[in-house]
């Protein structure tokens, strides 16, 4: 039925870079893996499934690197500006003239950058999982789900149409749901995956309504057109979106805030972050891939994608900024108190994403103002590296010790040398110690904040100090602290398959910072010279080091200082330890309000009132028929009386009353 599906080629790529098929293959290869393993994995591919999936992903990684090279260095730049290129598109679902879901591919700096990140990290995780998940009964299923996730994530970053993005957005959510619930027979895992899905779903509600509003005003769902129409102050669409307001806030702001809610849900911004820590129930590599490197930054990516429109509405940007910075601090505080190593990492992820968010929030449009944008994307890039690395490292620790609890760990540096080194590198990177990757990106963010909003800047500064502290708290208490208590035989670091990703990522974490990121990614596509002001960098670095040394002082050797400190600020500590009681709050809302105050009454009403009416009607009829049976008395004379009464009644009625 080719008359249905017309693929429109919008921009023909220059000769030699006709990437059409490559571009389609990048997401489709993982999908193929998913279908293959999902359908036949359990029966035929029990052993080989992992290799197969990894090879598929390897090829799509190669393709995306190829694409990235082509875009950044060959054809992407037209007279000094990186273009938004849409090689092709086809109408997937036509709603009304102009408004349609088009499935297409968009190439611009951020999407290409994300392509690289996603495929690369995913490849690493695949490799790692080969060893980590060995011997699992549902080994093929696991890789199938990974494939599904990678497909959706790649599709998400390449989306050329906001509804297409929503499409993959949901798919990402589901694959995350499936992977968190991978150990489906653990009640905790089941609860976690349900929680993750429902919370993000709730946020997506905002995204959806936001899309509806945007589509209504812009009259299109296509990103480019939408951005054009809503950014040129002269365009009638823009006028309409500004003019019409609800509760004194312009429709445009409403739409953007709603969309941002969606992003906040995925990116675990306060107060929608509660699913992220629980999501650690999933296999550790999954946490590395989904809940550290890629999916959780989808929210950041969404805001970045719509950034031109955001920049037209300062209120919306403020919302982004303040949510971001608050989440960053909030998470950092909690992270200092957690004892489950994965949860610490989870909260640090939340905190780092907070950095990216408020970086976007403080950014402006074009030139130097756009620093925040660049910084945010840069941090996204570096963070992907070192956070994935941290998780994988944590993975091999857990793999080794069979526990998530810090108190079971300590002094592992002898047993896990590679892990130890790479983990250290990652910690340095995230703490923003030069010359590691995190340093550069964080500096830019802080700089942008400094230029824009001092309050945010100072908070960010403190937070980065905290970051250093809790990361090294983790590092020391895992690798130093008390002597390791390793019982029985142990299988070192899980061999090559597990170490190679660590090393590669460590390299990334170490050197990614030297990439002149501004040259590639900026608000307006023009190269942005990210200058270094040494004196500016002093404060954060010092703070970071301070954090590190405090951690060392507290946790390098086993001692009772931490306990005493915790005791000294008991109330606050307790609150932070209990994640400021957010879960309890949610529990209250759902259980008490949603179920007891709405669901139960609804069910009761249906059972007793609505149904009751129907039953009642039946019973009334029966009752009446019981009542009037005297009418038929069996006495022939009464029959005759009724007869005559009827006749006379009719006669009277029609002679006198009803003429």
């Amino acid at each position: 039925m080719n008359d249905l599906l017309q693929i429109r080629v919008l921009q023909v790529l220059p000769l030699g870079w006709d990437l059409g098929w490559a571009l389609i293959l990048i997401p489709l290869l993982p999908l193929a893996g998913f279908l293959l393993l999902g359908l036949f994995g359990r029966k035929y591919l029990q052993r080989s499934s992992g290799i197969l999936a990894t090879l598929l992903l390897l090829s799509s990684t190669v393709l995306s690197l190829y694409t990235a090279y082509g875009y950044f260095f060959e054809f992407g730049k037209v007279d000094g500006i990186y273009q938004k290129i849409i090689p092709f598109q086809f109408t997937w679902l036509q709603f009304s003239p102009g408004v349609s879901i088009d499935m297409g591919v968009i190439l611009d700096p951020i999407s290409v950058m994300m392509l690289v990140v996603v495929s690369f990290i995913s490849l690493m995780v695949h490799l790692y999982s080969l060893a980590y998940m060995k011997g699992e009964e549902r080994f093929p299923t696991y890789f199938a789900f990974l494939g599904l996730f990678t497909f959706s994530m790649l599709g998400l970053v390449m989306s050329s149409n906001i509804f297409q993005m929503y499409f993959f957005w949901e798919l990402v959510g589901v694959s995350s749901f499936l992977l968190i619930g991978y150990y489906y027979d653990r009640p905790s895992a089941v609860a976690a995956c349900k929680k993750a899905f429902i919370v993000t779903r709730f946020a997506d509600l905002g995204f959806l309504i936001g899309i509806l509003v945007l589509a209504f005003y812009a009259g299109t769902l296509d990103f480019n057109t939408l951005i054009q129409r809503l950014t040129s102050t002269s365009a009638p669409e823009f006028q309409a979106a500004i003019a019409s307001s609800f509760l004194g806030v312009s429709a445009l702001t409403w739409a953007l805030v709603l969309v941002f809610i969606g992003g906040a849900g995925k990116s675990a911004m306060f107060p929608l972050h509660i699913w992220l820590p629980d999501a650690m129930e999933g296999p550790t590599p999954v946490s590395a891939l989904i809940h550290a490197a890629t999916m959780v930054v989808a929210g950041v990516f969404l805001v970045a994608r719509l950034f031109p429109v955001f920049s037209m509405s300062p209120p919306a940007l403020d919302v982004v900024a303040y949510t971001g910075i608050f989440s960053a601090l909030f998470a950092a505080l909690i992270a200092c108190t957690q004892t489950d190593i994965k949860r610490v990492l989870a909260y640090s992820t939340m905190s780092q994403i907070g950095f990216m968010m408020f970086a976007l929030g403080v950014s402006g449009w074009g030139g130097e103002n756009g620093l925040g944008f660049t910084a945010s994307m840069f941090h996204l890039f570096t963070h992907a590296m070192f956070k994935a690395l941290l998780f994988l490292g944590a993975g091999s620790v857990i793999h080794f010790i069979h526990s998530n609890e810090m108190k079971d760990m300590g002094g592992l540096r002898k047993y896990l040398p590679v892990t130890h080194i790479t983990f250290l590198i990652a910690c340095l990177a995230i703490s923003g110690v030069p010359p590691f990757a995190g340093f550069f990106s964080k500096e830019e963010i802080l700089l942008a904040a400094f230029n824009h909003n001092p309050a945010i800047y100072w908070t960010a500064l403190i937070t980065s100090g905290l970051t250093a502290f809790y990361m090294f708290r983790l590092y020391f208490s895992v690798f130093w602290n008390k002597e390791a208590t390793v019982h029985g035989e142990h299988h070192g670091e899980g061999g090559f398959a597990m170490m190679l990703p660590l090393v590669l990522l460590a390299a990334g974490a170490a050197f990614a910072g030297f990439i002149p990121f501004g040259n590639f990614v900026s608000t307006d596509g023009k190269p942005l010279e990210s200058a270094f002001h040494l004196q500016f960098s002093i404060a954060p670095v010092l703070l970071g080091l301070a954090g590190i040394f405090t951690a060392m002082w507290l946790y390098k050797k086993q001692n009772d200082r931490p306990a005493s400190i915790a005791a000294s600020l008991s109330g606050f500590y307790k609150a932070a330890y209990h994640k400021f009681y957010m879960d309890e709050l949610y529990l209250f809302i759902t259980k008490k309000i949603l179920f007891n105050l709405i669901g139960r009454p609804a069910a009761w009403f249906d059972k007793n009132v609505v149904d009751g009416m129907v039953i009642g009607a039946g019973n009334t009829t029966q009752a009446i028929s019981e009542k009037i049976k005297q009418f038929q008395s069996g006495k022939v004379q009464q029959y005759a009386i009724y007869f005559l009464a009827g006749v006379i009644g009719l006669a009277v009625l029609f002679i006198y009353i009803w003429k």
Binding site: T621, Q622, I628, K629, G634, Y642, F643, L644, V647, F654
Partner: protein, 466 residues
């Protein structure tokens, strides 16, 4: 002389059969089942003969008139009688007075024929009595049963009373108009109070025969007490004949007063449907149940009658045809069962399907048809009646009718449920029927299925009416 033979053909045939039966009865010692098959043959012949040599015309100075429609109505009735002779074969074979039964039934039928084609109130009155009195005797056919005699007593007394009322009405009309002939009367009707009074009295008698609420009370008792064959005769044949003559009376004779009788019909039909349904809801005895259901059916007939258009006529005739098949099938099943097992309560029917699938399907068809469920003919019958009645755009009336459809469905489903769904330790055992009974049921079933789907039957009736 010649046209006398042609025009009164149907009546003459019946008379002939009557005499044959009398002679056989008196002169010979014929075995019951030979006699039965003879009668069945004669009735079939009579039914077939009804379709030939039909001419329109009138005799005896308009006392007797006939036309194509009337002959068709008559053949519906003779079809019904034929079916009765088939369906109740078992019961008839057992009773030693079978010839009398047929003689009485046929004389009643003769009366109905005359009534249908009566051209004056005198003729109408005479034939009405002729069609009533023998039935009263028939009702008492099981001489030894107490309730039978009670039933026939109730019937004869109340019908005597009703004919008293009727005659009083006739006399008033005669006084008001000075004529008793249907042809002269319409011109003289002006809806004066006296005429309305007279009409109401007259209509009371019709309503009594048709068992319209509140003139219906004898019905249930008589149906219950009388032998099922007689009940079915009452419920189908005599009701049908009255419906037919009512068409003539209302549309032709009292046409000028139609705004009076339209409202009257509306009130009465709503009352009839409601009361009939409400009483049917809580009946346990199958015969009584069918009695009330047939009362409710009459309510629908009145809906059609109220249309006062050729659709009214054709839909009523059509419905009576369908009703003959459906109701006779239901009565036939009830008859067979009570004949063979003596069980008449609905609860006894539980699990019937397990032992007697054929009977159960016939019963189901009949009840669905009575309830007006497609694709059975009853659906079309009911729908056309309502369509005819809706012509006046009286939404209240139509909605009432439609809602009563649901209530009626409720109790018909009660029987279906008992037959098909309910468990029963000792269900009615396997019944082996007289072949002619089976034939009768098959005819009824075929009628129920095809009379509706084959639209030419309705078109034929329409062609007769206009």
């Amino acid at each position: 002389m010649n046209d006398f033979l042609i025009l009164m053909k149907s009546e003459l045939v019946i008379t002939l059969i009557l005499f044959v039966l009398l002679i056989i009865k008196v002169g010979t010692e014929m075995k019951n089942d030979r006699f039965l098959s003879l009668v069945q043959f004669l009735l079939l012949a009579n039914f077939i003969a009804g379709f030939f040599f039909n001419e329109a015309g009138s005799l005896f100075g308009g006392l007797f008139t006939t036309n194509a429609l009337m002959t068709f109505q008559k053949s519906i009735l003779s079809l019904g009688v034929y079916l009765i002779s088939l369906l109740f074969a078992d019961w008839l074979k057992k009773s030693e007075h079978m010839p009398e039964f047929f003689i009485l039934m046929l004389s009643a039928l003769l009366g109905m024929f005359f009534m249908i084609s009566s051209g004056s109130l005198l003729m109408f009155f005479l034939s009405l009595e002729l069609s009533t009195i023998p039935v009263a005797a028939m009702a008492n056919f099981d001489l030894e049963k107490k309730i039978a005699s009670e039933a026939s007593m109730k019937m004869i007394l109340s019908s005597a009373f009703s004919s008293g009322i009727l005659l009083f009405g006739i006399s008033l009309i005669y006084g008001a108009t000075g004529t008793i002939s249907f042809t002269e009367m319409p011109a003289l009707l002006d809806g004066s109070p006296l005429q309305i009074l007279a009409f109401v009295f007259l209509f009371g008698a019709f309503a009594f025969k048709l068992s319209v609420v509140p003139f219906h009370l004898w019905t249930a008792d008589v149906y219950e007490g009388a032998p099922i064959a007689v009940s079915s005769f009452l419920s189908v044949i005599s009701k049908g004949s009255i419906a037919f003559i009512l068409l003539t009376a209302l549309y032709k004779v009292f046409g000028p007063m139609h705004n009076v009788w339209y409202n009257m019909l509306m009130i009465l039909s709503i009352a009839t449907m409601v009361i009939g349904n409400l009483f049917a809801l809580r009946q346990q005895n199958m015969k009584r149940f069918l009695a009330y259901s047939s009362i409710a059916q009459v309510g629908f007939i009145l809906v059609g009658l109220s249309g006062n258009s050729f659709e009214g006529i054709s839909s009523v005739v059509y419905f009576v045809l369908i009703y003959t098949f459906s109701n006779l099938a239901a009565f036939g099943v009830a008859g067979v069962i009570s004949q063979q097992t003596g069980k008449e309560r609905i609860d006894d029917y539980k699990g019937l399907y397990q032992t007697n699938p054929f009977i159960s399907w016939i019963l189901a068809l009949a009840l669905f048809s009575l309830a007006g469920i497609p694709p059975t003919a009853g659906f079309f019958g009911k729908l056309f009646l309502i369509t005819a009645g809706a012509a006046k755009g009286n939404y209240f009336f139509i909605t009432m009718a439609a809602l009563n459809l649901i209530v009626s469905l409720f109790y018909y489903l009660r029987v279906i449920r008992a037959v098909f769904m309910d468990k029963n330790e000792q269900p009615i055992e396997k019944i082996n029927m007289h072949p002619s009974t089976k034939l009768g049921m098959i005819i009824c079933g075929a009628g129920i299925v095809f009379v509706g789907l084959l639209s030419w039957i309705y078109d034929y009736i329409v062609a007769l009416t206009v």
